[in-house]
């Protein structure tokens, strides 16, 4: 089922891509754009030209074939849905790269291919090779992607736009700019890492731990092609300079040669194909480095040809692995007898890889030779190129021959992991058949088959520079043909000479097999991410909280003061005149309370908490005084809830009295002095800054906008509330989500809460109460606790409906008067809280059933769906709407959708607050249960 779905998706994409062809011929471009973050020049811009079209067809077409193939390849034990979802995600990202019309968007899709390829390579995550290979691929391509982003940002800066069309049109501007070289180097780093070019080639062979369909798709047809795609795409903007030629040429030629040489000595079928891929990509890079129009034609043609024959070869290797259980060429031989059709197909495909005439590989290779012979600039690279090309050609003949000869001919294989290999199911072979037929058609009649499509692609890259070229098999008896013949003969001789050595040798070429890029990479990885990190941690790290906080505070202080000091900040002289005496008196108390809290928090927790509450009240009065009624209400309510919360927590803290602590050491004294100094300095700094800020004339900022538009656009008179639920509704949605997450975290943490052993016993106060009950004959245990504050608790119970009404009132008036969802929610949760306080947890829960999780869920849904609702009327998320509704008897009332949003806020605040408090209150019930269980256990022992 998942495989069929994936095939339908990929096939559908293929059909769509093919149908788009008439719109891209003759250099036409199909565009689609959605604004994303236009301020940053980042738009979701898609752009389909001939070259992108060619890649789209390649990606979707081979993607479709691979999904068909994978259906038979994957075993029943594999989690197949995951495979196909990763696969399609990768395909989407890859299509994104080729279709992006904005270079930042391109870089985003680039990263997505790195990540999805990581997931695909590590698909069999039980195998260490898969994990290591995936990590290496991600590290290399991820670093490359980062470099690419830097390069693209530089180019965007030079051009002044991230639009691909503009960038491609301003090649001269870019090449003439002083930032050209850094931009070029970063872009090339991105492309070369992705296309596994020397010296970053080593990740590709390690990525062969992926399932074979992944290798066939990612590591032959698509992902590694992204690098050369990028080079070709940007060649109008970047190519043609000496730097371009030199960097790309050196990387390409070395990769071409090294890849082909290494491929000869691989023992793993997929390893051989991987190195061959590296070599062919080197060929394309070399072609692109030349910068001549004909070379670009050859490069684009070879991208197409290589994808066709390499994908089919990978799939053939997968079939061989599937049927015999091994990919080791030392064990495989004589398979022609068992699977003649697959063998024939593989032979044709590898002949195409070797560049045998009448196959597509021959054509583009011939074009490469022709370009290699032409001298473009007088440098050593150019002069050696024809020889290097012929040598690499000979190598590729040798490894292709080896692949065919070792696997399909010779004696029958003995002791294979699976007995008697046979032909695979027909549909597993079908993709290979199709691709090989394409190889043949293109190879025999290029101008009639692939010609027009190739031309469309070439025109879209080169535009007016499109050269005259002819796609035909016979160009006369010329130098490239001689080079091809030499390569064929030399390759065959090389294989014959090496045959016996290769049949038994170790994996990798002699001598060089010890020197592996992979080793160096791992060494660096260990050095940087383990040793250096450990060293840094030992030197400057600490696990103690206090030094960390001290540094945070100190850094904060410096970061706050340094800019002020540098900009010549002069503290204003304090003006004490005109101070309201009552306000001064209020804060005199506040300051005393603050110092008292700081002093008492260690040994007298309850006193400190009460004093803290006192400060909270003074803050609340300050808000009233200074025209912030909404804040005052919220502060007051939060103060109540916080105090109850901490009171509930106090019971689980250890007893601490002044007598219990040992004498203070000198070091501790020093520490305290230092902290005190830091604290005082921070306080003084804050005083100066606050005074400066408050006495500054307030600039004409956004405040007036809100004040002027709150009523006309938000339909409310209480501007603070309108800001919260309307203008900045998205922020509020985020904030209530945070509140919900915190409440759930608290709930989750408390489910597994186990108190410390010394908090398990009954608290001292309860023991005293119970002793009193026991001593008096007319009292039962628990009576004192129940009778305690009897009258207040009755009042609290009676107040329940009153407070609920009050909450509704605060909520309803919130849009026009102080109040709103936050304060109403807190009020209602206090109503519930009082019932718990008055009657105890058990009493309250017998009578009211609160489902805080439901409140939270419905609240969040209400708020979010109000936002989504705006979409249905064609407005952006969370656009509010308001009008006056006539209600009988009451008259016209304002009704805004913001009210619905505020209702969501209200519900979520109630749910979260109640959930937190109830979860904490429940601990004393749980502890009783724990105590009973342990007591029973003790009795059993």
């Amino acid at each position: 089922m998942p495989s069929r779905l994936a095939s339908v998706v990929a096939g559908g994409c293929f059909v769509i891509a093919v149908l788009a062809y008439p719109q891209v011929v003759d250099g036409n471009v199909l565009r689609y754009q959605v604004e994303w973050i236009p301020q940053l020049g980042l738009n979701f811009a898609l752009r389909l030209d001939g070259f992108a079209w060619m890649f789209c067809v390649l990606i979707t077409g081979i993607g479709f074939l691979v999904t068909v193939y994978a259906r038979y390849y994957m075993s029943e034990d594999d989690p197949v849905p995951r495979f196909f979802s990763f696969f399609l995600a990768f395909m989407g990202a890859m299509l994104g790269i080729v279709l992006s019309g904005n270079v930042i968007l391109l870089s985003v899709f680039w990263e997505l291919t790195s990540i999805s390829s990581f997931l695909l390579i590590s698909y069999w995550h039980n195998s260490a090779a898969a994990r290591d290979g995936a990590r290496m691929a991600l590290t290399i391509t991820g670093i490359g992607g980062f470099c690419l982003l830097i390069g693209l940002l530089l180019i965007g800066n030079i051009v002044g736009s991230y639009d691909l069309d503009k960038i491609l049109a301003s090649g001269d501007l870019i090449r003439g700019h002083s930032l050209y070289l850094p931009a070029l180097i970063f872009v090339l780093l991105g492309a070369l890492t992705k296309s596994a070019q020397f010296p970053f080639h080593f990740w590709l062979p390690n990525a062969m731990a992926a399932p074979t369909p992944v290798s066939a798709f990612l590591h032959s047809a698509t992902m590694v092609k992204a690098g050369v795609f990028l080079l070709a795409r940007f060649s109008p903007a970047l190519s043609g300079t000496y730097e371009w030629f030199f960097i790309l040429g050196a990387a390409g030629i070395l990769t071409l040669l090294i890849g082909a040489y290494f491929a000869i000595f691989q023992q793993d079928l997929k390893g051989l194909l991987a190195y061959s891929t590296i070599s062919h990509l080197g060929l394309i890079t070399t072609l692109l480095s030349l910068g001549s129009p004909l070379a670009t034609v050859a490069a684009i043609f070879h991208m197409l040809n290589h994808a066709t024959f390499k994908a089919s070869l990978f799939m053939a290797a997968g079939i061989i692995d599937h049927e015999t259980g091994t990919r080791d060429m030392r064990r495989l031989s004589g398979l022609f007898r068992y699977m003649p059709i697959t063998a024939t197909l593989a032979m044709v495909a590898s002949a195409a890889m070797a560049g045998v005439p009448l196959l597509n590989g021959f054509l583009s290779k011939e074009m490469f030779f022709a370009e290699a012979v032409e001298t473009h600039a007088d440098s050593i690279l150019d002069r050696i190129l024809p020889y290097v090309a012929t040598l690499a050609g000979a190598f590729s003949v040798a490894y292709s021959l080896r692949f065919i000869h070792t696997v399909f001919f010779g004696r029958s294989p003995t002791n294979l992991p699976k007995d008697t290999p046979h032909e695979p199911p027909h549909w597993m072979r079908f993709p290979i058949e199709l691709l090989v037929v394409i190889c043949l058609i293109v190879g025999i009649a290029p101008a009639m088959s692939v010609g027009p499509f190739l031309n469309t692609a070439v025109v879209s890259v080169l535009g007016a520079d499109t050269p005259e070229y002819s796609l035909s098999i016979w160009h006369g008896f010329n130098l490239p043909l001689i080079m091809s013949l030499v390569a064929l003969v030399a390759g065959a001789l090389l294989y014959v000479a090496l045959r016996h050595y290769l049949a038994t040798c170790e994996d990798g070429p002699p001598v060089l097999r010890r020197l592996r890029g992979q080793r160096i990479f791992e060494r660096i990885l260990v050095e940087v991410s383990w040793r250096w990190a450990r060293l840094a941690e030992q030197r400057i790290g600490t696990r103690k909280l206090q030094p960390q906080l001290r540094w945070v505070v100190f850094t904060g202080f410096v970061a706050g003061m340094l800019p002020l000091w540098l900009s010549g900040f002069e503290p204003r002289s304090f003006v004490f005149s005109g101070v309201d005496k009552a306000f001064a008196g209020l804060w005199l108390i506040g300051i005393c309370l603050a110092i008292g809290t700081a002093y008492l928090a260690k040994y007298h927790r309850l006193a400190a908490l009460i004093m803290l509450g006192g400060i909270g009240l003074i803050v609340c009065v300050t808000f009233v005084w200074l025209s912030a009624p909404d804040l005052a209400i919220t502060q007051l309510l939060v103060e109540i809830v916080t105090t109850v919360l901490i009171l509930l927590g106090l019971r689980w803290l250890p007893k601490r009295t002044e007598q219990m602590d040992e004498a203070v050491t000198l070091r501790a004294r020093f520490r305290r002095f230092r902290d005190l100094l830091l604290a005082v300095v921070c306080g003084v700094g804050m005083t100066f800054i606050s005074y400066a800020v408050m006495t500054m004339p307030v600039p004409d900022a956004i405040a007036n906008y809100f004040l002027e538009n709150a009523y006309s656009e938000g339909g409310g008179r209480n501007v603070v509330n309108v800001i919260l639920v309307d203008f900045r509704g998205f922020d509020t949605l985020g904030e209530i989500a945070v509140l919900g997450v915190v409440a759930l975290t608290v709930y989750a943490l408390l489910r597994r809460f186990r108190p410390a052993p010394d908090s398990m016993d009954m608290p001292e106060q309860q023991r005293i109460q119970n002793r009193f009950d026991e001593e008096h004959a007319d009292r039962a245990a628990g009576d004192t606790a129940r009778d305690y504050l009897l009258i207040p608790s009755v009042i609290m119970q009676w107040m329940f409906p009153v407070i609920i009404t009050f909450a509704v009132y605060i909520f309803m008036r919130g849009h026009d008067m102080p109040g709103g969802g936050f304060s109403a929610g807190l009020t209602l949760s206090i109503a519930f809280l009082l019932q718990y306080l008055a009657g105890g947890t058990r009493w309250a829960e017998d009578r009211i059933r609160i489902l805080p999780l439901w409140w939270m869920g419905i609240g969040l849904l209400a708020a979010a769906s109000t936002g989504v609702g705006a979409w249905f009327f064609g407005y952006p998320f969370l656009t509010s709407h308001f009008q006056y509704l006539p209600i009988p008897l009451i008259g016209k009332v304002p009704a805004a959708t913001a009210l619905l949003f505020d209702l969501g806020v209200f519900l979520l605040v109630v749910g979260s607050t109640v959930l937190i408090l109830v979860a904490l209150a429940h601990q004393s019930i749980r502890i009783n249960r724990l105590r009973t269980i342990e007591a029973e256990k003790g009795r059993d022992d």
């Binding site: 260690k602 804040l631 408050m694």
Partner: protein, 112 residues
């Protein structure tokens, strides 16, 4: 007015900083609450200190003379989120005390 508020903010910052540098978790939680008062008042003060002009529109009020509603809106959510973080920290504190047996911020030190 400004001078009183500034001194109050300074004192509360000092007490808060002193408390969060102490070794006992309870001191840290009280210190954080104190710091949040100071920070809230500071942000609130940025909008200017005005009396008797709450940002509530009425027919006879001149919009541009009202108190700045933006810092108020910011502080309002900050107060609620402050409650949430206090709750979270309290629970972490209790869990740490239950697991390690001590109320030292590092979960180490003498067992009590």
């Amino acid at each position: 007015m400004e001078i009183i508020l500034s001194i109050a903010i300074g004192v509360m910052t000092s007490c808060g900083v002193w408390l969060i540098l102490r070794p006992r978790t309870y001191q840290v939680i009280i210190g954080l609450s104190m710091l949040s008062y100071a920070v809230n008042l500071f942000i609130f003060g940025v909008g200017g200190v005005k009396t008797n002009v709450p940002p509530i529109l009425s027919d006879d009020a001149v919009a541009s003379r009202l108190a700045d509603p933006v810092p108020q809106a910011l502080v309002l959510t900050a107060i609620v989120i402050g409650f949430a973080t206090t709750a979270l920290f309290l629970v972490v504190l209790l869990a740490s005390r239950g697991l390690t047996g001590t109320d030292h911020v590092d979960g180490r030190g003498e067992k009590r």
